[in-house]
Amino acid sequence: MSSKNEFSKGRRNALKTLGLGAGAAATGTTLPLWARYAEAQSSAPIKVGFQAHKTGIGAAYGRWYERTTNAAAKVINDAGGINGRPLEIVLEDDGTDPKRGAEVVEKFATQHECDVAYGTLFSHVVIGSAPRAGELKLPYFVVSEGHHVASGMLNRYTLQPGITDVKSQVAAMAPFVSDNLGKKVTMIFPDFAFGHDHRDFFSAAIEAQGGEVVAKIAIPPTESSFTKYFPKIPRDTEVIYHVMVGPAVLTFVKELGEFFGPSRPEIFGFIDSLEAVDINSPGLEFLDGTFFWEGNPRYAQDNQSEYDKAYRAAVGVDDNGASVSDPTDISTYAHMFGCWETLHVIKAGMEASGYAGAGDRAKLIEAVEAMTDLPASNAHPQGAKVFNGKTHQVFGHQYITRVTDGKLKLAHTTSIEDTLYPDEVDYTTQAF
């Protein structure tokens, strides 16, 4: 299988990288030549342009992406920064708007003179901004989940090393859904690129498992009332697969419960439908016993790793996934780890390439492309990952949790192999 090859090749490259690292370590306390040079050249901060959804429909994510980013930057700076230079986050609000997104990327490159741009979540903003980043030759590290990076739709300057994409997530979910919940699935998804990824890839994945999607219900992400869509759910549906985004997600899930009343089918949701929302909100009682995909479990689990513990504390999130200063302020825990991990990848890439300034941007991308195994660590608290340099996409474990006693309890963890699929692009063949 191609996935196996991919994996073994990854391991070989990892060994090479490891060898280089060991070589560097062998020189002892003496820094490599480039590092000394860089140090002498500049101690000005490395500027990371953070394209944040401070306002607009992605605002809840934006708030937590910002907190996570600031926490990661603090950890990196406390440990000496990047190549001896402090890391500075330059935040610009994109209003969760693709047009503004492209402008923000331009501001980073020309006005703020950032070294890289980073942090975008919503897929339509990524798709709107990435071409501009490519034209400006500005490395653009997105934290988006969309399949647009690995699909080959974007360019060599756009990378997604900190969060897995929808195609790999749903490939790993389909076997669980068909084995444990049912074969006849009705999908409810937002009507834009991210939702279409879900629609296309989950339909294919569940068919590969012998199941079928009996209805596909697309809802505009700006919708505020949902009951009118639910009669399209066929009566013979065994599983509802829901994923929703936007400011009205709570209404969506509540109205879903009101629609079904006491006779609900099995329900499998992406936590996106309730990110930043308390699962114990009034009207959500019907979710008890239903399952959720989570990129990273919101509630601290019994098998919580020390890395998750440290990361949670650094960002300021309690064991219930809420802010330590305000228990009603629920985090977007399933996604925001991507910011933390992406910043650490940028740091690792800059250190491996000896990044000294804008002239080294291509070297930085090559260094990130050369990455393969990213073991679970303080830099990767969500778990181990494998980066595919050709498709610019990272692969990792996925978590399925079940609503039990008002908490999301871990029910299943997929392997990384479950999430792999054949490459669709080789960005390394594109010229800089």
């Binding site: 401070k54 306002t55 607009g56 429909i57 605002a59 809840a60 934006g62 708030r63 505009p220 919708e223 505020s224 009332s225 009951t227 009118k228 869509y229 639910f230 009669p231 399209k232 759910i233 009566r235 400011p247 009205a248 709570l250 209404t251 009101e258 629609f259 079904f260 009343g261 006779s263 930043a276 909100s281 009034p282 009207g283």
Partner: protein, 309 residues
């Protein structure tokens, strides 16, 4: 879902949308009818009502019903008061000149929206409904030629949604009584017919204007308080009600209250039903198309009267 239950569900959803829309649009229509002011900021007063409802409901503790009732009383009054102040400080200063009031209310739109963003923040926040019981609705089917009652899967509404419809109907009746039976209504109608003449007869037109603007925006705020336990308060929630209100008011006839209510029912119900059976996009296309037809063939609206010369 079978056709019958499907249609009932669609109509119920449409009725909730229509009642909120009717309240909002009547506010807009009142302001236009009496003052000839096109209030582009109307949707933001709607949003402000929802946001204030959240503030009031969360600061009042105890049973959710207490917070909701407090919000129902306080939020529309506060919004109405603010609107009256806006009228006196802004609209009066531009002498209610049609072009300048449009530009002024666009400015007010942005001020309200951005101040809300800076204070309340960009999040959607819920208000707990005072009561919310799921009510399953029975339907009948023919088994062997005889009708039999059964409970279709998914056919239900909630007690709160029914309350929204009832509350809107009561409020609209009160507005109609105020306009047609009360002294203040008489003064408003006199001002609407001829402002200068009303002034000559000693009607305090300036105060009537402030009051009408306050009542109009207060109605939008009331609609928002009613809808906020179903949806959530969010700083961008004013856009859709504004557009729909304009559609309704144009179809119904600017300044005609019965026309506005009937157009709101038409648009709200058809939006609910068409979105259920086809797509929400088609519903929007059809209502916009209807506006175009009305503007071309009956510019005074279905129930409006021609502009006096």
């Amino acid at each position: 879902m079978d056709f019958g239950p499907y249609l009932i569900l669609a109509s119920l959803e449409g009725a909730v949308a229509a009642s909120v829309l009717a309240l909002t649009a009547v506010g807009l229509s009142l302001v236009f009818g009496v003052m000839r002011v096109v209030n582009v900021a109307h949707g933001e007063f709607f949003m402000l009502g929802a946001v204030l409802a959240w503030f009031v409901a969360t600061s009042v503790g105890g049973h959710p019903a207490l917070g909701f009732v407090a919000a129902l009383l306080v939020a529309p009054v506060l919004v109405g008061g603010l609107a009256a102040v806006v009228d006196m400080t802004v609209l009066k200063r531009v002498a209610y000149d049609p072009e300048r009031t449009i530009v002024a209310t666009i400015g007010i739109l942005y001020i309200i929206q951005q101040v809300t963003l800076m204070t309340y923040g960009p999040d959607a926040r819920p208000v707990t409904p005072p009561f919310n019981t799921r009510l399953a609705i029975p339907w009948f089917e023919f088994v062997g030629g005889r009708p039999q009652v059964y409970w279709p899967w998914g056919l239900s509404t909630t007690s709160y949604k029914l309350f929204v419809i009832a509350a809107a109907a009561v409020t609209l009746t009160l507005v109609w009584l105020m306009m047609s039976r009360s002294k203040i209504g008489l003064l408003m109608r006199a001002t609407q017919l001829d402002g200068e003449m009303a002034q000559v007869f000693g009607i305090p037109v300036e105060r009537i204007y402030a009051m009408v603007f306050g009542i109009g925006c207060g109605l939008a705020a009331l609609a928002a308080v009613l809808i906020v336990p179903i949806q959530q308060a969010h700083y961008l929630m004013g856009t859709d009600p504004l557009l729909l209100s304009f559609i309704v008011v144009i179809i119904g006839g600017l300044g005609s209250l019965p026309g506005t209510v009937i157009a709101a029912l038409l648009i709200g119900m058809s939006d609910g039903i068409i979105s259920v059976f086809y797509t929400p996009t088609l519903a929007k296309i059809l209502s916009t198309l209807l506006v175009a037809f009305v503007l071309v063939f009956r510019p005074q609206g279905l129930f409006g009267t021609r502009e006096r010369d």
